[in-house]
């Protein structure tokens, strides 16, 4: 056991390779060429990256709230894994947004060491978040979480599969990495959806109710926002309307294996003419961000 008998050795050394994530903050896009491809508008690319990054960040946050609350230890570990994957995607996407258009990054006091992706995550207000409303709702019970993860991951996998061909090499690389992760998320959600639907009477009732909670917000995933239209035109992004048919086939498969009817609840309408992609959110997001941002905002020049 000589490897483990001196756990304290090296704690005071200056070998930075010993640290899990590096000793200083590392630029998540270090060494990556962030030059814009021909015909790509930096502001549109940044706005698009914020949409996908905020989806991942907000959903990750909700999933992370299951830590120490899941139905079993195995599920605690699985949900944390999914939350970590999405957090990693968010970090890269927010960094890409900041590199593509530095003007999106909130201004902080002079000399603040807060990196741009953290400034975006922790110093924007809810109206500046561009995630769909689906991902921001309270977790509800495990069936609601499962239903939300199923809808979100099925959509996101279809999106990332296409985004691998983005003319922006950074987005293409983020998508290629994300496809492997989200394929697992979708599989996990689909398995649980079927397990609950075919488990006990109670779990079946709850799974149906869970689908009813999230289904009304599912339509928003396929509404094309002007930024997404530009993204598709310029070849760096995907028009979500084009994903609807494929996603629908996959969802139908899961529902039919589970013996579940497609929910008939009506879609949640926009707020004014806008929805999540326009910064028009539900009440849940403001409360979520108040908690998420409280420490960072109390120390705008802090070093973490």
């Amino acid at each position: 056991m000589t490897d483990h008998t001196s756990a304290y050795d090296g704690l005071l050394g200056d070998d930075s390779a010993q640290w899990a994530f590096g000793q200083d903050f590392e630029d998540p896009l270090a060494g990556v060429d962030t030059t814009l491809a021909a015909g790509v508008d930096g502001a549109a690319l940044a706005a698009y990256c914020l949409m996908l990054g905020d989806d991942a960040l907000v959903h990750s946050h909700r999933l992370s709230q299951w830590a120490s609350n899941a139905p079993d230890l195995e599920e605690d570990i699985a949900l944390a894994n999914i939350a970590l994957d999405l957090l990693g995607q968010a970090r890269l996407l927010l960094a890409r947004a900041a590199a593509a258009d530095p003007s999106v990054v909130p201004a902080l006091p002079a000399g603040s060491p807060v990196p741009p992706e953290d400034a975006l995550a922790f110093f924007r207000d809810d109206a500046d978040f561009r995630n769909v409303r689906l991902v921001e709702g309270e977790n509800g019970d495990f069936a609601v979480t499962t239903a939300r993860l199923l809808l979100f991951s099925t959509h996101r996998l279809a999106l990332l599969e296409r985004l691998r061909d983005s003319v922006d090499p950074v987005l293409a690389a983020i998508a290629a990495k994300g496809v492997k992760e989200v394929a697992y998320h979708r599989d996990h959600a689909a398995r649980w959806c079927v397990t609950l639907a075919r488990g006990t009477e109670e779990s079946r009732r709850r799974m149906r109710a869970g689908l009813d909670v999230v289904w009304p917000l599912h339509h928003e995933l396929f509404r094309t926002h002007p930024v997404e239209a530009t993204a598709a035109e310029q070849g760096f992004g995907v028009d979500p309307a084009g994903l609807a048919a494929d996603v629908d086939v996959l969802l139908e498969q899961v529902l039919s294996v589970g013996g579940l009817d497609r929910p008939t609840v009506p879609p949640t309408g926009p707020l004014g003419r806008g929805a999540g992609r326009d910064g028009r959110h539900t009440e849940a997001l403001g409360r979520m961000l108040a908690e998420m941002q409280v420490v960072a905002r109390a120390h705008p020049t802090g070093r973490w």
Partner: protein, 320 residues
């Protein structure tokens, strides 16, 4: 009355211990050895699971995306440690379900350190540095413990704990390079956790009821006071490197004994916390109970689904 075959089994058990070899699940073992192991491993597993709460409470408030990832991964590791350890306990014939019920009914204990609250983000670092540091001192010798499944689980646990300890130290070191407010936050946190960390090694040897038998059985390898001394001696230079003051004015190097002299923690407080009057005892157990009860319908559904799959294999193939 002890029969001849039973005597032979006991002799074989004693010989295995004497050789410092491992006892394995199918080997004969005295009932008291089994019971002691179950108590110790379950307490350790429960500590991992309850330990997810004080730090997990800060996942949603972590002040950077990097820190959020580190903390979430750490709390996830703790769930994994709980899983290894409950599995080790299952090799002794006790199920995870039974142990969880004993935990939420207050019939089995967990480390008293988790009955203290986490009041600032610096506590995430201090728990990594001091609490995981103390845990490592306790746990490294257990990699050589006589019961095989426990010892092997501990090798993995210790590797990850040592990683957590470095991450905690690194968080504090980073905060100490930050603003005055951050430095004050770190010092306040260290002031609060120092004494409970010293208590983690258990009562002084003179008052420890289990130590002698556990050492004879090779379940425990060092006494509480030996481990506490080792922890203090290792922590002092780290505190200096961080630039924090340990809150003990009588903490000084003693050349003669080759270690530090230090003030004992308040053992009356320790007894109170262990017996249920700590700041967070009720909250921690209530949280575990709620999560367990809220998840019951999911676990029942998974069992029902698995049974159905076994009964209807053809139908399952058709739909998958």
């Amino acid at each position: 009355m002890t029969t001849a075959p039973a005597q032979a089994e006991e002799a074989s058990f004693e010989a295995t211990l004497a050789r410092h070899d491992r006892i394995e699940p199918r080997d004969w073992m005295p009932e008291r050895y089994r019971a002691t192991l179950v108590r110790q491993i379950a307490q350790h597993a429960h500590s991992e699971i309850i330990g997810m709460q004080p730090e997990g409470a800060w996942i949603t408030r972590a002040p950077s995306l990097r820190r959020k990832a580190i903390l979430l991964a750490k709390v996830q590791d703790e769930a994994g440690h709980g899983l290894y350890l409950y599995s080790a306990c299952e090799t002794l014939g006790v199920s995870r379900q039974e142990l969880t019920e004993k935990l939420i009914e207050g019939k089995q204990k967990y480390s008293s350190i988790f009955n203290y609250p986490t009041l600032s983000y610096a506590d995430v670092g201090t728990i990594g540095w001091l609490v995981d540091g103390a845990a490592i001192c306790n746990q490294v010798p257990l990699c050589r413990t006589s019961y095989g499944p426990y010892g092997r689980a501990m090798i993995r646990v210790c590797k990850e704990e040592s990683f957590h300890q470095r991450q905690g130290f690194e968080l504090l070191a980073t905060m100490m390079r930050g603003t005055d407010a951050q430095r004050a936050m770190v010092q306040e946190s260290v002031d609060r956790f120092w004494w409970p960390a010293l208590m983690m090694f258990g009562p002084p040897d003179a008052d420890s009821s289990h130590t002698a038998q556990s050492m004879a059985w090779g379940i425990k390898r060092d006494t509480n006071d030996e481990l506490r001394q080792k922890f203090v001696d290792m922590t002092v230079p780290q505190a200096r490197a961080l630039g924090v003051t340990l809150p003990d004015p009588d903490l000084v190097w003693n050349d003669e004994k080759g270690g530090h002299d230090f003030t004992q923690p308040d053992w009356a407080e320790f007894r109170d916390v262990v017996s249920g009057s700590g700041p967070c005892n009720a909250q921690r157990v209530a949280h575990r109970r709620r999560a367990h009860e809220d998840g019951a319908w999911v676990r029942e559904a998974a069992s029902a689904f698995a049974r159905r799959q076994q009964q209807e294999p053809q139908q399952q193939e058709a739909v998958s």
